[in-house]
Structures are given as structure tokens and as C-alpha cells.
Symmetry: C2
Subunit: 301 residues, 2 copies
């Protein structure tokens, strides 16, 4: 076992927290998963997992990517809190403060999709490509655009899953399942939208089901809009729905049709096999993104 | 007349080139307009306008915002060229090189909408607000998002006028007028789309024409998508169609309806009167943006 510095990564999800201690993607020392129950119980388990390493002083820092919404404004009195989440019991949790005071190490925090984007850019599919986009299509839809190696942020956090895209009502009369917007992108293309339409999860819908063309079309519309606005140099698509790997070819084809040659860059007029891609870190984009964030924290010292 | 340094600003448009020599918005020394005919003729007039100031050595630098598309990659052999424009005679014009060699001063160049965005952020409606968005709705639709005071750029230039938004086909069966995309944002909401629908220009369509609700809805859809993605702190709407000032109230209301309280920032849940605004520099956003670009060039020395 090497004696190099170690970093912690945490991916906080709605059903589980994944934790690793690592020196990098090729040096994963320990890994564990804990069910997301109450903040007290789950964070106690998370802290117990990291404490031996923190005690040895080998654990330099931790990076946390978690479900939100989060207060990420360092000037705010509730900086580092999970704010108004519908997840019962988690609203108002000072997750950053709890981890830092329990473990005595610095913790970097961002939303889950930002951690995955950073992980993929540091060691994965978007390495060496800036700007890049990471989009997750699963229970929810969220995206993170990295420019200059950092998540691009405006006045509030990015919620690109909730953009409006053309809804093909004739072929797809479903009203959408977003409680705020009905047929926004997430309302039309998230996993739960498929469950609501067909009474079965996205995982079990047949490969040749005609809906997949519509699903690919919705994802492609959102991607084409992003390309027309801030053309990333690499697009990584993760999340549960994207486990259906045949979607990639459909999405690439449809993005090409939507752009229709208007942008003359060879990447955008070609087949896009190397442009719109799955994550290279698999299910570890998020936790390794946490490790990347922890390393950045060190460099910012 | 002050003896402070002077800067040139050029707004290159499809019908005219506007040129100013100025020390800033309150010190405009000279201003002229030249019809956009051939590059030879128009640029000869532009150079003749600036030459007396360049000869006196008082003119430090020039900023040019022009129609495109442009090659803005400094590493490219055709850097500073207008590339594949449909404007007859202008494709392949080395506009940056012609101006710099004729006048012997440095010239900063960007697309027209970027110049307007920079002008408004330096002295106008978005001053002190970063990030900000400038969107022009006129003959074409284009936008520039400024982050850290600079136009955000991806692999290719931004073409946010060509994003797809929901098209209300029942109320508005028009197929859209974009030769590439049909009913993209520009195809549905540009000045020419109004001319094609009703056989009259946007300027003369009655204030109470029901189409204005649809027009405001299209603009609001594009703005709501931008807010959900990278929430600017100020949105400035310019261009010929936005001369119809009653559109602002309709757009603000519709953006609120589309966001539907999902983003809890007070700016986005309130009336947005100070958030979605007209340019403060009027018809000079572009040329003064050129002056701002010229000043930035000096600072980068």
C-alpha cells in the first residue's frame, strides 16, 4: 500500500451514499455504500467510514457531490446546506458543516451532476476537452457544463433538465410528469416519465419499442440546443436511462438531423461517435468526481 | 476638445456600417454611417473616416462588431475573416487584416451581438451584472452570454437564435422561415417571420394584434431555457422587433409563468421589471461595444 496522500469522495444520492477513499482512479483503497435514510443515521455511517483515515492524517480532504438543491454561496449563512429538497428529513441539513466538524478535514461540495462532470473531465471521457457537458438522464435529468475546468454557474444553480423542448404530442400525447412544468425535458424524458407512460420501468421496455425514437429525439433536442448555444467539445451522457446503450446511435443521428449542417465544424457534421459518449468511469463518475474536487481543494490552498 | 486617448468603434451590419471615434459614451467625437455595398467600397469609406484620427496618433485602437460568421480562432490561417456569409461579395473578406493594415492600429473583432453585449455591460443596462445575456430580436435572432466580462464561447460561435422551442402549431400554423431549421426560434420569431406570416413588417403590425402574445411566448421560452441553464443576472433585449416596447411586459409575465416558481431566487419570482430590460445605449450598443472592445485591447497590452 502506497503512502501517498489520500482523498475522500462521496456521492450522495436519493437512495444511497457511495463513499470511497482513493489516491486516484487506479488507487481505490476502500469503498462503501450506505442507504439514504435520515441525515443523522446516514451521515453517521459516512463519518464512521472516513474516520480511521482522517485519524491517520493520510486523508487530505473530501469532495462531496450530492442531490440538492444546495446553498453554494460562500457568503450565505446557510452555505453548505441542503435547502428545500423534497427528500423527507433532509431539508435544512448542514451537510458540509457536519462532515467537516466530525472529520476535521476540509470538504468541497457541489451538486451530484457537477461531481460526475468533474470526474469525467479529470480521468474519463471528457479528459482534455474543454468546455464539456455532462448530462444525466435517469430518475431526474440534470446537466453540468464545465468551462475552464469549472462548473458554469449563473445567479442560481443550473437546472437544465427543466428546459422546454418541442413535444411531439401527436406521437406522444403524454402530458409530462414534471410537477412544476408538465412537459419540460425531464417531464418528457426522465425514467419516471417512461414508467408513467407504459407502467413499466425504462429498464424493461423492449429495445424495439417505438418510444425509444421519441426518447432519443427529446434528448437530442436538448443537446442540439446546448450545442447551438455554447457548443461543448465533448458530451457525456450518464444516468439510468442511458444504460440502454442503443440510445447513443439514435441520439447522435437525431442531433445531426436537428443541426442540419448549420454549424460547419467537422465534429458536428460527422457521425459524432467520439462526440456524444457514455461515461468512461462507469458508476464511479460521481465518487471519483468527489476525489477530483478534493484534489482541487488542495491545489486552491 | 479633450486630448485624452480616443478609440474607434465599428458596427458592421447587413445594410450599413456605423463608425464612431470616441473617448467613451459621453465623449463621442465623430460618427458616420456607410451603406454596406461591396467590401472594397464600404471598407474604403470606413478607413477614410478613421484615417485622420489614426494619422494624429490619438486613435489608440478600434473595436469591430460585425455580421458573420467570422473566423475568431487566432490560430487559424483565416483568422479575422468573414467566412461563409450569404451576404454577396463578403464571404472570404479579411476584414481584420484590411482595417489593421490600412489604418496602422490594432483592431479587436467579434460578432455584432457580442459587441452590443459588451457595450451594454460596460456602460449600459447590464453594467455591474455578471453573468449577463444580450439577445437581439430583429432581422435575425442572436444572443451573447457574458461570463467574467467575456463572451462565453464553445467549439464554435454561439447561434442561440437557432434553438428549438415549443411551437404552438394550433394557434400559429406557420411553418417557420429558417432555411436550415424551419420553426427554430429565429424561424418563428424574427422580423422576417412576421413579414411572411402577415405580409407586413413587424413595425406596422397593430399593438393589439393577437400574434404579439405568441411572439412574446416564443421569446419567453428561449429566455426561460437560458435562465434554467445558466441564469444570467441581467437580460437585455435589443433589435428591431424589440422596438415594440409593449412586448417587454408580456415577455416578463410569460417567463414567470414558464418558470412557475421552480427557481426560488427573488429576481425570478418577482415582476422582473429590472431583470428583462431594453438596452440603455439605444442604437449605440454596438458601436460603443466596439469602443469597449478597443479599450480592452489596450488593457491586454
Amino acid at each position: 500500500m502506497s503512502s501517498s496522500k489520500l482523498y475522500g469522495g462521496i456521492e450522495g444520492g436519493g437512495t444511497k451514499f457511495i463513499c470511497i477513499v482513493a489516491g486516484g482512479p487506479d488507487e481505490i483503497i476502500e469503498e462503501a455504500r450506505f442507504a439514504t435514510t435520515t441525515p443523522q443515521q446516514t451521515l453517521r455511517q459516512v463519518c464512521a467510514f472516513f474516520r480511521p483515515f482522517a485519524g491517520q492524517k493520510r486523508l487530505h480532504s473530501i469532495g462531496l457531490g450530492t442531490f440538492g438543491p444546495l446553498d453554494l454561496d460562500p457568503a450565505s449563512p446557510t452555505y453548505g446546506y441542503i435547502t428545500s429538497t423534497p427528500k423527507p428529513g433532509w431539508g435544512g441539513t448542514n451537510i458540509l458543516g457536519i462532515l467537516q466538524s466530525a472529520l476535521g478535514v476540509r470538504v468541497a461540495m457541489d451538486v451530484d451532476v457537477a461531481a460526475s462532470a468533474l470526474g469525467e473531465q479529470r480521468w474519463g471521457a471528457s479528459q482534455g476537452h474543454d468546455p464539456s457537458l455532462y448530462l444525466t438522464v435517469g430518475t431526474g435529468i440534470g446537466g453540468c457544463y464545465l468551462a475552464g475546468g469549472k462548473p458554469l454557474r449563473g445567479m442560481v444553480g443550473s437546472e437544465m433538465g427543466h428546459v422546454r423542448i418541442p413535444h411531439h404530442r401527436q406521437a406522444d400525447p403524454f402530458d409530462g410528469c414534471c410537477p412544476y412544468h408538465g412537459d419540460c425535458f425531464e417531464g418528457l424524458a426522465s425514467g419516471p416519465s417512461i414508467q408513467e407512460r407504459f407502467g413499466q420501468p425504462a429498464e424493461s421496455l423492449a429495445d424495439d419499442h417505438p418510444f425509444w425514437e421519441l426518447e432519443a429525439g427529446y434528448i437530442a433536442a436538448a443537446l442540439a440546443n446546448t450545442i447551438l448555444t455554447f457548443s461543448p467539445r465533448k458530451i457525456v451522457l450518464g444516468g439510468g436511462v442511458m444504460q440502454r446503450a442503443f440510445l447513443f446511435a439514435k441520439i447522435r443521428r437525431r442531433v445531426g438531423e436537428l443541426l442540419n449542417g448549420y454549424l460547419s465544424h467537422p465534429t458536428l457534421t460527422g457521425p459524432m461517435d467520439e462526440y456524444i459518449v457514455p461515461p468512461a468511469l462507469g458508476h464511479r463518475s460521481g465518487v471519483l468526481g468527489g476525489v477530483a474536487m478534493a484534489m482541487q481543494l488542495e491545489q486552491s490552498n
